[in-house]
Amino acid sequence: MVNLIVIFMAIVLVNNFVLSQFLGICSFLGVSNKMSSSVGMGGAVVFVMVIAELVTWPVMQILNRFDIAYLQTVVFILVIAALVQFVEMFMKRYLPALQKALGIFLPLITTNCAILGATINAISYGYSYLQSVVYAFGAGVGYMVAMVLFAGIREEKLSNMDGIPAPFQGVGIILVAASIMALSFMGFAGMFQ
């Protein structure tokens, strides 16, 4: 149990997917301009990461049995894409409210590097089934935390570019803000051994 909590906290704070591993940066910068859409995107990432991990871990056991672990990237992408498509169809039929809340983000993150990164990392760390699911859940939560915090900063401080020197306006100052936030997360380094 302690082991699982450590895995979870470590991936949320110390090895945060966005801020220290630089995975999922494009959606992090792209969707964080509004608080509401960043929450939706974060929720969708948590959801997809967990179900992707649930499926890819058993698939990896099959690949290992046939001694073709080198195919994991191709097979994982295939499986995750099909799975997300399936889940979307399912939700459209039975959970239209949730499907509307996650909206366009669900199909968008199908091929996001953060999803693939979470599944491949969990395997390369040699985690058990339960551990890797907790790891994936933590990775998603970490993404959501970074996303929501950054959306807050952007809404509060960067929605109006007036006081910012002209060359920094737009993407420039957003990247600067993101890097300062990543630096502040480095304060968590060494918290868990």
Binding site: V59, I62, F66, I68, L71, V74, V75, L78, A82, Q85
Partner: protein, 290 residues
């Protein structure tokens, strides 16, 4: 050989399983979409320009069906025809969609404007404006670097004589160029209004004139000649009230600079008057001591 067969077979099996699952899901979880959405979507032009304010034509169609109060006339590329077709499908009143067109409110062509520097950086108005207010002496005018032309999906705006010019036949009034222009020179105007003040300079007359031959100098000649009380000077710039303007073109005739332009072909008498006015102005110029 064996090392090849196993992986290929395995990936093929996984792929087929996923495909089978999706086919199965699409049958079992099939959701019948409101057929009106499909119908409305077929009527829309499919340009996905976003001019209506929704994320593409699909989104607009879905929202039209879902929201009773949403206007059918938001699609400018489709125009009145599309609005009527949508209204028929949904059983609502079409409302009048005034056909609009984009208009660049600047006439500072290469020969007329003064430039203060030769911009050799990137070909982008936003970029140029970020570093300097403008390569032109007139800080309000068109720089002619073509941000609007890049934004236009319909090939309706291009750089002619150093400034942006709208091709009215191609323009669908989606408003993409309006947002792209950092000088805020482009406006959507009703197609039927033919006379426009093609200047946006709020500099004082003498300064404006020094910067550009075609600038509005706020001389009020147009306001006196107008029979409909439709043109007024505000902030040293003549502005036309589209509601009142009858597009008679008198103001364009009397304008001493090239600021007011009429798309209307001038009637013979007015044309003669204009020619006379131009001649007079030319003569006056010659009299000026050097």
């Amino acid at each position: 050989m064996n090392g090849l067969i196993t992986p290929v077979l395995l990936v093929a099996v996984i792929g087929l399983t996923c495909a089978g699952l999706l086919v199965f899901a699409s049958k079992v979880f099939h959701v019948s979409v409101d057929e009106r959405i499909t119908l409305v979507r077929e009527v829309l032009p499919g340009a996905n320009c976003g001019g209506c304010g929704f994320a593409g034509c699909d989104d607009y169609a879905a929202n039209l069906v879902a929201d009773e109060g949403l206007s059918c006339t938001l699609c400018s590329p489709g125009g009145a025809g599309t609005a009527e077709a949508i209204a028929e499908i949904l059983g609502r009143a079409a409302g009048s969609a005034e056909p609009m067109v984009a208009q660049v409110m600047c006439n500072g062509v290469s020969g007329a404007r003064r430039t203060v520097l030769e911009w050799q950086g990137m070909s982008s108005c936003k970029g140029a404006k970020g570093w300097f207010s403008s390569p032109n002496a007139c800080m309000f005018g068109c720089m002619g670097l073509g941000d609007c032309a890049t934004a236009c999906q319909f090939d309706a705006i291009g750089i002619v004589d150093g400034i942006a010019k709208v091709n009215r036949e191609n323009c669908v009034a989606c408003g993409a160029c309006v947002g792209a222009c950092p000088q805020k020179l482009i406006k959507l105007v009703p197609v039927k209004s033919q006379v426009h003040v093609l200047c946006s300079s709020t500099d004082k007359g003498a300064v404006a004139r020094k910067n550009c031959d075609n600038a509005c100098i706020g001389c009020t000649k147009c306001t006196t000649v107008c029979n409909f009380d439709a043109i007024h000077i505000e902030d040293n710039l003549a502005r036309i009230d589209v509601e009142k303007c009858k597009s008679c073109g008198l103001c364009a005739v009397v304008c001493p600079t090239g600021a007011i332009n009429s798309f209307r072909k001038l009637p013979p008498r007015a044309a003669a008057e204009k020619a006379a006015a131009v001649k007079k102005a030319a003569a006056k110029k010659d009299e000026r001591p050097l």
